[in-house]
C-alpha cells in the first residue's frame, strides 16, 4: 500500500480532480470552456471563439494553465477570455456576483487537472 502511494504521488502532484474538471469544462453551463473552445470528446454546443484545447496539456504546464484561467488578461491584455479567478479591478459587476470569482480556486484546480489529460 505504501509502495502504491509512493508510486502515485508524482502522478497526482496536481491537487485538482480531473473528472470534476471535465464536468465543469464540458457541461455547457455559463462558465464552461466549451462555450468558446473545442474539447476532444466533448459533445453538444461547442463554440469557436477561442482555440481548440486539443493537446493543451502537452503544450502548457499546470501553473501556466492555471494562470490563463485565473486571469488570461495578464498574458494577453486584449484577450476575450473572462478572468475566472479574479475579483478585483472589474467594472460594474452585478451585485450578486460582486467579490465572487466565476470559478472557485478548487474548481480552477479541477479544470487544470482535466486540461492536463488533454495530450
Amino acid at each position: 500500500m505504501k509502495l502504491l502511494a509512493a508510486l502515485l504521488v508524482p502522478l497526482a502532484a496536481w491537487a485538482g480532480n480531473a473528472e470534476k474538471g471535465r464536468a465543469i469544462a464540458t457541461a455547457g453551463a455559463e462558465a464552461s470552456c466549451i462555450l468558446c473552445h473545442a474539447i476532444p470528446g466533448a459533445r453538444g454546443a461547442v463554440g469557436n471563439i477561442g482555440p481548440s484545447l486539443a493537446g493543451v496539456g502537452a503544450r502548457l504546464r499546470a501553473e501556466e494553465l492555471k494562470a490563463r484561467i485565473v486571469d488570461a488578461s495578464r498574458i494577453n491584455p486584449k484577450t476575450v477570455m473572462p478572468p475566472y479567478g479574479r475579483t478585483g479591478g472589474l467594472y460594474q459587476v452585478a451585485a450578486q456576483y460582486r467579490g465572487k470569482p466565476l470559478l472557485t480556486p478548487e474548481q480552477i484546480d479541477d479544470v487544470v487537472a482535466f486540461l492536463l489529460t488533454l495530450r
Partner: protein, 225 residues
C-alpha cells in the same frame, strides 16, 4: 479592385462593411422575416396600426421614413423612437402597446438606411461605453461583436450586434422585444449591473449602434433566433 472598394465604402458611408444580423440567421429565419403572412412581428405591426389610428393619426398623417431618423439629437439630448413615443403616449417600456406602436412606426421605414442623422461626436459617450469592459466576465461589447462576429458562442452565432431590426421577434423570447431588452440581455450575460429601461447608458449605446451601423436598412420587425 481598389476603386471598387473605395466606391463601396463611399456608398455605405462607413469604414467597415456592416452585416445585418439577418446575414447570420438560418434560411428558415430569413424566410420567416421576409414573409408578411408568417413574420410573427407583423401581429404587433397590425396592432400598432390600430393604436396609431386611434391615438396619433389626428396629428400625424404618415410615419414613412420617421423611424430611420431615430435616435436623433434634440437640444443636445439623444431621443430614441421609444422615448419620443413615450413622451406623447406614456406606455411602459416593453409593454405591448409601446412595442406595437414602435413596431408599426419602424415598419414604415423598412428598407431605409439608419444612422444618417448622427455624427461620431453625437455618439461619443455611447462609443466609450461600447468599448468599456464590464461585469464579472470583464467583457466589452466590442470583444464579441467586432472581434468575434461570425464565430460561435456555444450554440449561438455571434453577430455584429446591429440595431436595424428592432423591435425584433426573437424565437428565444417567443415575443417581440426592443433593442433595450436585447442590450440588457448582454448586460446579464456578462454579469454586469443592469441598467433600467430608459437609462442614459442604454440610450447612449443605442445611438452609438445606429451610427456604427449607419447605412444598414431598417428590417423591423426582424426575426432572430
Amino acid at each position: 479592385m481598389k476603386g471598387l472598394v473605395v466606391a463601396l465604402l463611399a456608398i455605405s458611408g462607413s469604414a467597415f462593411a456592416q452585416r445585418s444580423g439577418l446575414e447570420y440567421a438560418s434560411p428558415e429565419i430569413r424566410r420567416l422575416q421576409a414573409s408578411e403572412a408568417e413574420n410573427p412581428g407583423m401581429l404587433w405591426v397590425d396592432e400598432g396600426e390600430k393604436l396609431f389610428a386611434a391615438q396619433c393619426a389626428s396629428c400625424h398623417a404618415s410615419m414613412k421614413g420617421v423611424a430611420a431618423r431615430y435616435p436623433r439629437i434634440v437640444a443636445g439630448k439623444i431621443v430614441t423612437l421609444e422615448t419620443q413615443v413615450r413622451h406623447r403616449v406614456p406606455f411602459a417600456y416593453e409593454s405591448e402597446p409601446l412595442l406595437a406602436l414602435t413596431a408599426y412606426i419602424a415598419s414604415q421605414s423598412r428598407g431605409l438606411p439608419i444612422g444618417q442623422q448622427l455624427s461620431e461626436r453625437d455618439v461619443a459617450k455611447g462609443k466609450t461605453e461600447y468599448f468599456r469592459r464590464r461585469g464579472q466576465m470583464n467583457l466589452a461589447c466590442t470583444n464579441c461583436h467586432d472581434a468575434n462576429a461570425g464565430k460561435r458562442l456555444g450554440a449561438d452565432t455571434v453577430s455584429e450586434g446591429q440595431p436595424n431590426g428592432y423591435p425584433t421577434y426573437r424565437l428565444r423570447w417567443q415575443t417581440l422585444g426592443s433593442l433595450e431588452r436585447r442590450l440588457r440581455a448582454c448586460f446579464s450575460g456578462v454579469h454586469a449591473e443592469m441598467p433600467a429601461y430608459g437609462d442614459p447608458l442604454l440610450i447612449e449605446l443605442e445611438a452609438y449602434l445606429a451610427w456604427r451601423g449607419r447605412g444598414l436598412p431598417i428590417e423591423a420587425p426582424a426575426v432572430r433566433p
